[in-house]
């Protein structure tokens, strides 16, 4: 694979890059590498998509009946303590 050691260095910093935590000169260097390395370009897109999916994964809401039943159970347990 072309420039593999460069790719491995980049892989170590990808989350910091995605989260915009790196100094601008390092970001520029990464962007240059991404422009020249299709493998890393695809890799970072898939990592960004992974983060995006996590951020948007919904959770089924708590049912009212469960909210009430849990409150009762908690207070019963607390009073029995």
């Amino acid at each position: 694979m072309p420039g593999q050691s460069h790719c491995v260095d980049l892989l170590r910093q990808l989350s910091a890059y995605i989260d915009d935590e790196l100094p601008s000169d390092i970001c520029q260097e990464i962007r240059r590498h991404l422009g020249a390395c299709p493998n890393c370009e695809v890799f970072i897109v898939s990592l960004q998509q992974t983060v995006t999916l996590c951020r948007h994964r919904p959770v089924p809401p708590l049912k009212s009946v469960d909210r009430v039943a849990m409150r009762r159970a908690i207070l019963d347990a607390a009073n029995a303590w």
Binding site: V8, L11, L14, L53, H56, L75
Partner: protein, 206 residues
């Protein structure tokens, strides 16, 4: 992504006051249920964790001095309870994720893709296979990595807040988060999920 703005108590709450507890419960139960569901992956275990969390909170109200946000305090209680409950239930071994295991060794591994081309995340997640793949990948994470990923990428907390909840410095949080993301990316992209149009036929939402 947080359900409600965190509230800060100005004074310590008196212990064993049902009205104070009710307010705490009412204001935060949905937040903690969502967190618990994401950690546990299913409703029954999530409800157990919510009950354990609020029972511990009820007992600890007298010691809570309002120095932290109430939500951070509850996240911390829930995280500790989760670790205790999982230990009891499974005795599951913790293992470290090494960055080296995520270094692609072939062009094919570099080029693994998530099947969401042109779709919004909401549309992509209507694909049952993708949704289940994501859930299973998160569930397969060792818990200390899963907890960081859930708090940071799903609950939307800052690295500093996650560090406070888990008793870690920010550097450790970021290191765990990166490994967790790489793990989920690899699990998800390696599954070969294909049927993008499932959601159009309906009936796939859980």
């Amino acid at each position: 992504m947080r359900a409600s703005a965190p509230k800060k108590l100005s004074q310590p709450l008196p212990t064993h006051e049902p009205e104070e507890f009710d307010k705490l419960y009412r204001d935060h139960v949905d937040l903690i249920y969502r967190y618990a569901h994401r950690l546990c992956g299913e409703a029954e275990a999530a409800k157990d964790l919510v009950q354990e969390t609020f029972l511990n909170a009820y007992r600890g109200l007298k010691d809570f001095r309002g120095e932290a946000q109430v939500s951070t305090w509850l996240y911390t209680i829930a995280s500790r309870a989760c670790i205790r409950m999982r230990r009891k239930r499974k005795g599951e071994p913790e293992h470290e994720l090494s960055l080296d295991e995520f270094v692609p060794t072939s062009e094919g591994e570099f080029r693994l893709q998530i099947p969401m081309d042109g779709l919004s995340p909401e549309e992509a997640l209507q694909n049952k296979e993708l949704r289940q793949g994501l859930d299973q990948a998160i569930e397969a994470l060792p818990k200390k990595y899963r907890m960081v990923l859930v708090l940071r990428d799903m609950e939307g907390l800052s690295a500093k807040e996650v560090g406070n909840i888990m008793g870690l410095n920010e550097r450790a949080v970021k290191s765990r988060l990166h490994r967790a993301r790489l793990f989920v990316r690899r699990e998800l992209s390696a599954r070969g999920i294909t049927n993008h149009d499932d959601h159009k036929s309906g009936g796939l939402r859980s």
